[in-house]
C-alpha cells in the first residue's frame, strides 16, 4: 500500500496525479475464510481491521451487498459524542470517542474528526432536570460535559436564537470534545487499512443463506457462491433482522426509516453541533458549507430507505425556529436510511443462538459515533468468543434478564 503523506502528494503532483493506486483491491471470494464479516459499513470494516490488526486473523472477508459505505455509514449526519446516561454506554461511546482522536493517524487516512463541541438543548423545566442528571452522570465517570445557562449558550453559539417565544432555550449541555467526522472517509479508511492487512473486501455480494449444521455455522451462501467459514460476524445495521431470519433466530430489533437532508453550501456560519431532543431536530455545518439537518425516525417499520415528508418538515421547522436566518436557504437533497432500533435504544454486541455467529446491531439512530469502539469491542468478541470489557453488557441475554441499558433519554431525538 502506498502511504499517504504530504511528500506523496507532492510526488504525485509532479506526474499530474495519474499514478495513484486503488485504495483497496477487488478480489474474487475465496472458497474458505477464517472469519466472514457480513456488512461493509464502518462497523463491519472496522471489525475486519481490528481482527487483522490485534487478533492475528488474516484470512478474513468482508461481504457487502452494495458498495462500501453505501448504507447507513454514508447516510448519517456524522455526529460524534459520548454523553450517554448509563455507565455501560458511557464506557463504550467514550472508548470510541477517544479512538476518533487518533483514528486518522492510525489508519493513515484523514477522517476529518473535528471536535467542535455538541450542544444538547432543553426547552422546559423537566427536560432541564433530565439533562442536568445526564451531565452529572457524565462528570462522575470521566466523560466531559458541562451545563450552560441560556446566556452561556448564546455566547457559545451566537447565531442561535435562545429567546424564541415558542421554544425558549432554558439550558443546554455541552460536550466540548465531541463533534463530527467525515463519514465516507471512515469506511474508506478502514477498508484501505484492512485491505493492507490482507482482508478481502468483496462488494456486490449478497448473503442469501447460511450453512448451519449441528447448531453451528459452517459458511454462508451468497450471490457469488458458497463461502465456508467457522465464524460469521453479522454487522448489517437495518437488515439485522433479515439475516437473523435466514440463520434461524430472532432479534429484538425493529427497522425504521430515518431521514436527513442538507442545504445548499454557504459560508461558515455555525461552528458547533446543535441538537434538540424535544423538537426533533439537529444541525451542523459540513466542511463543504452545507447545513446537515437530521430529525427523528419515522414511527413505522420500513426498509424503503425513505420516510414520510412530514417528519422531515417537522425537523426543518424546528431548526428554523432556532435559526430564523436559515429559513431562506434552499435544500439540496434529502435521503433516508434503515435504522435498527432495539427496545432500550442500545446496541447489541453478542454471540447469536447459532454457534459461530456473532451479531453487532441495534445502533439505531446513533451508530456512526460508536464506529471505532464498536468495531474494536466486536473484534475482541469474534476473535476470543468472550465479550470485551466495554461491550459485555450489550448482550442479547439482557432482554431475558431485564438488565436493559435504557438510553431513550440520551438519544439525540426521541424515537
Amino acid at each position: 500500500m502506498q502511504r499517504y503523506s504530504a511528500f506523496s502528494l507532492v510526488r504525485h503532483a509532479l506526474s499530474e496525479h495519474k499514478h495513484w493506486r486503488r485504495a483497496w483491491r477487488s478480489p474474487a471470494p475465496k472458497p474458505r475464510y477464517d472469519a466472514i464479516i457480513v456488512g461493509g459499513g464502518g462497523h463491519g470494516l472496522g471489525t475486519a481491521y481490528y481482527l487483522a490488526r490485534h487478533h492475528n486473523l488474516k484470512n478474513i472477508a468482508v461481504l457487502e451487498r452494495g458498495w462500501i459505505g453505501g448504507g447507513n455509514t454514508g447516510r448519517n449526519t456524522t455526529i460524534i459524542r459520548s454523553n450517554y446516561l448509563q455507565e455501560e454506554s458511557q464506557g463504550l461511546y467514550e472508548l470510541a470517542r477517544k479512538m476518533w482522536e487518533t483514528l486518522s493517524q492510525e489508519l493513515n487516512y484523514n477522517v476529518m474528526f473535528s471536535p467542535r463541541g455538541v450542544l444538547n438543548l432543553c426547552h422546559d423545566e423537566h427536560e432541564l432536570k433530565g439533562l442536568r442528571r445526564r451531565v452529572f452522570a457524565n462528570q462522575a465517570r470521566g466523560v466531559r460535559g458541562e451545563f450552560l445557562t441560556p446566556r452561556e449558550v448564546k455566547q457559545f453559539c451566537p447565531p442561535m436564537r435562545v429567546d424564541c417565544p415558542r421554544l425558549p432555550v432554558v439550558g443546554a449541555s455541552l460536550q466540548r470534545n465531541a463533534g463530527t467526522a467525515r463519514h465516507d472517509a471512515v469506511a474508506w479508511g478502514y477498508a484501505r487499512a484492512a485491505d493492507r492487512l490482507g482482508v478481502d473486501i468483496i462488494e456486490n455480494c449478497t448473503v442469501n443463506g447460511f450453512d448451519i449444521r449441528d447448531g453451528a455455522v459452517r459458511g454462508v451462501r451468497t450471490t457469488r457462491g458458497d463461502i465456508a467459514a467457522p465464524k460469521v460476524a453479522l454487522v448489517p445495521a437495518g437488515h439485522a433482522g433479515v439475516l437473523a431470519n435466514l440463520a434461524g433466530f430472532r432479534l429484538p430489533i425493529e427497522s425504521r426509516p430515518l431521514q436527513a437532508l442538507v442545504s445548499e453550501p454557504v459560508k461558515p456560519c455555525l461552528d458547533t453541533v446543535v441538537m434538540s431532543g424535544a423538537i426533533h431536530g439537529y444541525v451542523s455545518q459540513s466542511d463543504k458549507g452545507e447545513l446537515v439537518i437530521g430529525g427523528g425516525a419515522d414511527s413505522y417499520n420500513g426498509y424503503s430507505q425513505r420516510g414520510s415528508p412530514h417528519v422531515l418538515a417537522g425537523s426543518i421547522a424546528a431548526v428554523c425556529h432556532l435559526f430564523p436566518q436559515f429559513r431562506r436557504l434552499r435544500m439540496l437533497r434529502s435521503w433516508g436510511g434503515v435504522v435498527d432500533i432495539a427496545p432500550d435504544a442500545s446496541a447489541i454486541l453478542s454471540a447469536a443462538p447459532v454457534g459461530g455467529i456473532y451479531v453487532n446491531c441495534g445502533w439505531g439512530t446513533g451508530g456512526f459515533k460508536a464506529t471505532p469502539g464498536s468495531a474494536f469491542a466486536f473484534a475482541h468478541l469474534v476473535a476470543k468468543g468472550e465479550p470485551h470489557l466495554k461491550g459485555r453488557a450489550f448482550t442479547l441475554a439482557r432482554f431475558a434478564t431485564g438488565r436493559l441499558i435504557d438510553e431513550h433519554s440520551a438519544a439525540a431525538v426521541a424515537h
Binding site: 437488515h239 433482522g241 433479515v242 431470519n245 430472532r250 432479534l251 429484538p252 430489533i253 425493529e254 427497522s255 414511527s299 413505522y300 417499520n301 420500513g302 426498509y303 424503503s304 414520510s308 415528508p309 412530514h310 427496545p343 432482554f399 431475558a400 434478564t401 431485564g402
Partner: protein
Amino acid sequence: MLMIPCPWCGERAEVEFAYGGEGGLSRPVVPGDLSDGEWADYVYFRKNPKGTHCELWHHLHGCGRYFEVVRDTVDNKVHGSAESGSDIRGVSDVKKV
C-alpha cells in the same frame, strides 16, 4: 406520506394516526407460566420482516380506534386493513378498503 385505510373512516393521511407496532400479538394468558426467555420473546422480539407486515395503527386524530393493516415494508404499499383481532395476515382474505 402514507395513506392509511381506517376500516371505519376510509383512507386518511398518516398524520392522523399513531403507529402501534406489530399486530396480531396477544398477551400470554398466564404470564407466570412463561420462562424468562419466552417472556422476553413476547415483550421485545418482533418479526420485523422485509416485505409484508401486519401492524397496528391507532386513528388518534379520528375515530380513536385501533385496527390492523397489512403493508409492505419495502414499497409501503398497503394491502388492506381490518378491525383489530380479525385474522388478516393471509393477505388474500383482507377486506379491501
